[in-house]
């Protein structure tokens, strides 16, 4: 068992007659109880240890602006609107929602990344050199490539049935795909009706 080997024992040389042999006490200590206790403590600490420290995701919301003139204008063609429905479903459309709603599409959290990436690529490909923005980027020491996707805007509209996890996941997706401009706004009634209609036809409860 666990013990300290002192190497002692019968290795001593013979002494002459008449010399009294001192009684040798074993220096071996039985360490078993100590080891038992050690492992008990290890088990305890392993179970109580909190290894995953929580992290934070920063969220900045804009101030509510009532004045139409002060609102930021974005190019319609480079906007991607993402709506969050129930059962982790995502609905999206590019640009403006048509009257008939035929550019209204459905996807899941697995598919949304490719849609964001493709839309971003498309916006970048349409980019015509903007000297003003590039000069500004240079002055601020930022890469000029930042200008290429400056028009790209993602609008996130969680519906009442979306969960908090969906919201965080989509915000996370913005970080993952390096979308610089995104906004969280209230869902429009027309969009909510469309979600409901799609859910009814798709059998999503």
């Amino acid at each position: 068992m666990a013990s300290i080997d002192t190497g002692g024992g019968d290795g001593g040389h013979k002494k002459g007659p008449g010399v009294k042999k001192a009684k040798k006490l074993s220096t071996r200590v039985d360490m078993t109880p100590m080891v038992d206790l050690g492992f008990l403590l290890i088990t305890f600490f392993v179970f109580t240890a909190t290894m995953s420290t929580p992290t934070t995701l920063d969220l900045n919301m804009p101030k509510d602006i009532k004045d139409q003139k002060e609102q930021t204008e974005v190019k319609e063609s480079s906007v991607l609107s993402i709506m969050l429905g129930k059962n982790d479903q995502i609905y999206y459309y590019e640009g403006k929602l048509t009257e008939s709603g035929d550019n209204f599409k459905q996807t899941t959290f697995k598919g949304i990344r490719d849609i964001i990436i493709n839309k971003k690529k498309e916006v970048i490909s349409r980019y015509v050199t903007d000297p003003e923005c590039e000069a500004k980027a240079k002055a601020e020491g930022k890469p000029i490539s930042n200008c290429a996707d400056k028009d790209f805007v993602v609008i996130i509209k969680p519906s009442a049935e979306a969960t908090y996890k969906n919201t965080v996941d989509i915000l996370d997706e913005m970080t993952i795909n390096q979308v610089r401009t995104y906004a969280m706004v209230k869902i429009f009634d027309q969009e909510f009706e469309l979600i409901k209609a799609t859910e009814a036809s798709g059998g999503i409860k």
């Binding site: 080997d5 050690g38 290890i42 909190t50 995953s52 992290t55 900045n60 908090y164 965080v168 915000l171």
Partner: protein
């Protein structure tokens, strides 16, 4: 016939190195363990790729549990007098008429999840018994009676001149309208920067952030 002698080997193995390692691991765990404060409500946070650390002081935490109940708590171990300032502010603005003992108890209260009408009962309960108390959550969904607004307002004035972080810790299953109501309570206090508490997720490979992080790592190595 000569018999083959099998040498007898001792079954006593030397376990010293094994024990050494075991104690090394033990000391590591003792050092690394940080005890979690007991939480009256279980909240499973969703994951995010950001690895920013959570502030532990100068913060208020708004928790949303899986049944859409909202709780409010103050994290200010460095400056305990803030607790008193906040509860005094609430006491005066809402005319609750709390006794000094109840005010003192707020310091030990880990989470407040009751409307103002139930605050007296919560604060008369001993802090150790509070987790047993059923808390209905702070009303937020009614825009006219968004009581979280008052809690944030008092915290804001208690921490005036200092940086105050707003932590929102929501359960993955809670619904979006509650989160929106919490945000609107913060917005009405002219606060627009929040920290959402999340668990750490890995960055999916091949994405832009992944490429950027890898490039950043390479730069550091140079």
């Amino acid at each position: 016939m000569p018999s083959v002698k099998i040498p007898r080997k001792s079954t006593d193995t030397d376990m010293t190195p094994f024990v050494d390692i075991a104690f090394l691991i033990l000391s590591f765990f003792i050092m690394a363990t940080k005890f979690k404060p007991p939480e009256p409500v279980e909240i499973t946070t969703p994951g995010s790729v950001l690895s920013q650390k959570l502030p532990e002081n100068n913060a208020v935490m708004i928790s949303i549990d899986s049944s859409n109940k909202v709780y409010f708590s103050v994290l200010s171990e460095n400056a305990p007098e803030k607790y008193t300032t906040i509860i005094n502010g609430i006491n005066t603005s809402q005319n609750l008429g709390l006794s000094p003992a109840q005010i003192a108890n707020f310091r030990k209260t880990f989470m407040v999840g009751v409307p103002f009408t139930g605050l007296k009962e919560l604060l008369s309960t001993d802090a150790n018994d509070q987790p047993k108390l059923k808390q209905p959550g702070i009303p937020v969904l009614d825009t006219l009676n968004n009581q979280l607004f008052w809690w944030i307002r008092e915290s804001k004035s208690a921490f005036a001149g200092e940086k105050l972080n707003y932590l929102i810790k929501g359960d993955g299953k809670s619904k979006y309208p509650v989160f929106e109501a919490v945000i609107s309570a913060l917005k009405r206090n002219e606060e627009f920067k929040y920290n959402l508490v999340t668990a750490l997720d890995d960055i999916p490979s091949g994405t832009e952030l992944y490429i950027k992080e890898r490039a950043g790592e390479k730069d550091l190595k140079k």
